[in-house]
Amino acid sequence: MNDSLFTGKLVRLAAQDPEKDAATIATWDKDTEYTRLLAVDPVTPPQLKNKRERLERMPNPHFYSFGVRTLADDKLIGFVALLRVNHVHGDAFVGIGMGDPAYRGKGYGTDAMNLILRYAFQELNLHRVSLDAVATNARAVRSYEKCGFVLEGQTRGTEFRNGIRDNIVSMGVLREEWESKQVKS
């Protein structure tokens, strides 16, 4: 087991700097194919000021957000965040985005997800982590399965874009499932 909580095989988790990182995030968010996969809200052109203000919010016990940086050259390539963290039930949702297209489909996102799961289970002592994804985002779903997430259901026809209705898949991983996976690998 890696003794550094924030360092994986390909990436590390870092604080997000409102001054330096907002511009990079705003550049990623011009890509609507990407932003449409991140949230159900209607997409809008990114505003640098909004991105900075989001990063300026004080950290709190219900929201943990990290920048994802490559170990090779410390390049900011995405984000990963635990949101709606409920410490009473030990429950949280995770959101992830590999903003830089050059780093998609190569294991960087999976590595970042593994890091935040370790943080969720071994630092925050949560019991489970949940996520929702568009059913057609096969690459993401495959990555989540690799990290130990299992399908827990689908909300029918909840995604309506380009005139096509798709399901939203809900996935979850329990701490004991994640732990038994660590022993094996």
């Binding site: 159900v40 809200d41 209607p42 409920n86 009473v88 039930h89 030990g90 429950d91 019991h127 489970r128 949940s130 827990e152 259901g153 689908q154 909300t155 029918r156 026809g157 909840t158 995604e159 309506f160 874009r161 209705r165 809900s170 979850g172 329990l174």
Partner: protein
């Protein structure tokens, strides 16, 4: 065409009126069973002052996208519960709702069914939603039977997402599509 969306047989939908309603809403929050059946957050009693404040905060967080109804018994105009719709995803035609009958004395009398029928009609014929979503807990058999009876399907089972009374329980999501509702007895 149904013209009266807010008038049922035994109940009606009314706006929240803090002066009239805060007292009884506060009383319900002193009943842990009520809180366990309806709330994801840890149980905690609220004073009428904080009921009013909580309502104002919910309204503010919703940025105007908030549909909150106090359920009133037509026989004596008393508040018996609430129904509200939040998190409307207009671009996808989905929204989430919550519905509760406050006093145990008012449950199992069909008042909740009537309220849900009115809320479904509002969702599909006023807001023109494509689907409607709600959430409950593994231990709330009453809610599960109630939703199934009204045509909802269990869509998501978040395993062990709730820790209460020394054990984990699943969190459940239910959904109904407009086309399913249109074929059901509730829409007639």
């Amino acid at each position: 065409m149904v013209l009266q969306l807010f008038e049922g047989e035994k109940i009606r939908f009314a706006a929240f009126d803090a002066d009239k309603d805060a007292e009884i809403f506060s009383k319900w929050t002193h009943d842990p069973e009520y809180l366990r059946l309806t709330e994801y957050e840890a149980a905690r009693p609220l004073a009428p002052f904080h009921i009013k404040k909580k309502f104002e905060e919910m309204e503010k967080d919703a940025h105007g996208d908030f549909y909150y109804f106090v359920l009133r018994a037509k026989e004596d105009d008393r508040a018996i519960g609430f129904a509200h719709i939040r998190w409307v995803e207009w671009n996808h035609g989905n929204a989430h709702f919550n519905l509760a009958i406050g006093s145990p004395d008012d449950r199992r009398k069909g008042l909740g069914s009537e309220a849900l029928q009115m809320l479904l009609r509002y969702a599909f014929e006023e807001l023109n939603l494509y689907r409607f979503t709600t959430h409950t807990f593994e231990y709330n058999d009453g809610a599960q039977n109630f939703l199934t009876k009204h045509g909802f399907q269990l869509e998501v089972r978040r395993r062990e997402a709730i820790y209460r009374d020394g054990r984990y329980w699943d969190a459940l999501s239910y959904g109904i599509l407009a086309e399913e509702w249109a074929k059901s007895a509730d829409s007639k």
